[in-house]
Symmetry: C2
Subunit: 339 residues, 2 copies
């Protein structure tokens, strides 16, 4: 087969913020599919903050990426050649796949998408991993009740935007923390957040006190560090704190130190729990169904930041840590072909 294929491999492990030097583009073969396999052309690549953890050589949620091997994650593609009885040429599929222009994959590792049901990219965002992360972390751990105050950090990201909206659906008051006025305006005006705080320009502690006059019942933590210290100083009796991410720390080169939180959890009988979306794998179908229903009913909205071109994948990834994206960050590699 004569396809100009290309992959992005991990060249070396960053100790702080990742840069282009930690990645390498390589040309690679596109192997013909064997029985039960398909050849997939990549359409969209999802870049997500959790991938930073996989660049380290230590235990995290998931095993580390290997040096000289392609990075991988959520990818949407189109079948261009099939030796599978389940998938045919033209089918749009999603899977956990390497960062390559073309991928040969077993059909069982892919899920077929129905482009009529929802825009295909929603499966990498609001109806996919980030949306389900928000859904299960907020509802199972946070369990927000009507009238309670829910604070979400990283509020303008793929997970945070979903968290705030689901909390509103449950009747909570929602306070979002993000890093630009453009993000705040989106959260408040488009998504209906009750209060928004710019952690870069506002006095965080004072703004939080004002935004949460009755304290904080649920804190959905995407960022960690000093932002979380400030929120946690305001928790109420019985507060719940789903730990979803700690993006402020992923590129930290030293030990993350600060006030120990145990005393505060103790006197408030508060619960803090880490999770990863795969903890809830058995509920994915139910969760995705309910999210899709809310989407159809107009109760959930979503936004995508799309960078065009496989060659810009690394920039899109690095941009996550600079707070460049609003909503889900995607890389568009190619348009689907009508077959």
């Amino acid at each position: 087969m004569n396809i100009n294929n290309e992959k992005i491999v991990l060249a070396s492990r960053p100790s702080g913020m990742p840069s282009h030097s930690h990645f390498r583009f390589e040309s690679t073969d596109a192997r013909e599919p064997e029985n039960g396999e398909v050849l997939v052309k990549t359409l969209y690549i999802s870049v997500d903050p959790y991938m930073r953890g996989r660049m380290n050589d230590r235990k995290s949620y998931v095993p580390p990426f290997a040096i000289d091997e392609p990075l991988s994650g959520g990818v949407i593609g189109q079948v261009v050649s099939s030796l599978s009885s389940e998938l045919e040429e033209g089918d749009i599929v999603i899977g956990n796949l390497p960062w390559q222009r073309y991928i040969t994959a077993a059909d069982v590792s892919l899920r077929k998408l129905n482009p009529e049901a929802a825009p295909i990219t929603a499966s990498l965002g609001i109806l996919g991993m980030p949306g389900l992360t928000a859904y299960f972390g907020l509802l199972d751990i946070g369990n927000p009740q009507e009238g309670e105050t829910v604070v979400v950090s990283g509020a303008a990201g793929a997970v945070g935007t979903a968290v705030g909206q689901i909390a509103k659906i449950k009747g909570a008051r929602v306070v979002g923390i993000a890093g630009s006025d453009e993000k705040l305006a989106y959260l408040k005006e488009e998504l209906g957040f009750d209060e928004v705080i710019n952690y870069k320009t506002d006095d965080l502690q004072q703004s939080l006190k004002k935004a949460c006059p009755e304290g904080v019942d649920v804190y959905f933590d995407n960022v960690g560090g000093e932002i979380s210290d400030a929120v946690l100083s305001l928790i109420n009796q019985g507060a719940r704190i789903p730990l979803c991410g700690q993006i402020s720390l992923y590129n930290l080169e030293k030990q993350d130190t600060g006030p120990r939180i145990q005393g505060q959890l103790l006197i408030n009988s508060a619960l803090m729990k880490g999770f990863i979306v795969s903890d809830y794998a058995s509920g994915f179908e139910q969760g995705a169904d309910e999210m899709a229903k809310w989407l159809r009913e107009g109760k959930l909205k979503y936004k995508e930041s799309i960078i065009e071109g496989f060659e810009n994948t690394v920039d899109a990834f690095i941009g996550l840590f600079k707070g460049e994206n609003i909503g889900k960050q995607l890389v568009k590699v190619a348009d689907p072909e009508m077959i």
Copy 2:
């Protein structure tokens, strides 16, 4: 009435370790009981680490003690005069009562003890607040499973000794951390702890690694600070951490800082929850019944450190923070009279 009554009041609020100067002994009247009241002669006073928090003028589990007012807590006494239809002279009662030699109290604020069922002092320890604290914190939050590793700090205290034994009843491997070889010997030889560590003389991190070759599934935290940092560095996927106390911090004069724990909870999908025994008030009867059953079956043992004399109550209390007690620390004020 001509009774030589005495009370211990809070003279001032300590900023670090409490000393005698923060307390004051005062003589006081013993008021004759009115309708529905009894006059109680104090037999035993319970001193507990949580009381340190009530000496501060800030929100904790329970409201602060007031300056110039008596401290209060678990007290066992004997009715010496009754205008109650529920209690009669000679009855042994328990209640949350002021530190006084004699107390006039409403009968509804007291619970009558049956001295035939168990030694009366057990109601301030293994069958009382500390025992129930261990029972609910360990079973509801820690939820230890057969073969799992449970680590408990403050292991030789009233709560810790119960936690370790309940974990053994549930089939877990139990590792206790305490501060003297006498305590360790008691835990291992009398109570059947699998491993014990002296945090004052052992290399904590190394001893913990050796004692927990398969990591830590449940960490019942009575102490906080660096001991907890060391244990938490070893938690397993899905670990549970009941936060019961932070005795190492109660007398700290500055902000408690250290490694932030959120990242560690996150990558392990671990749960950390503060609690106070009153969170489980609706289950007290069931919990006390099961503990009493284990006690009768010889599955639970307990030890008391008893200091004699009302005048030594403050010493007994201060001794808690010097690690002087093994098991439940009590002050014996008087013997019950046979009536």
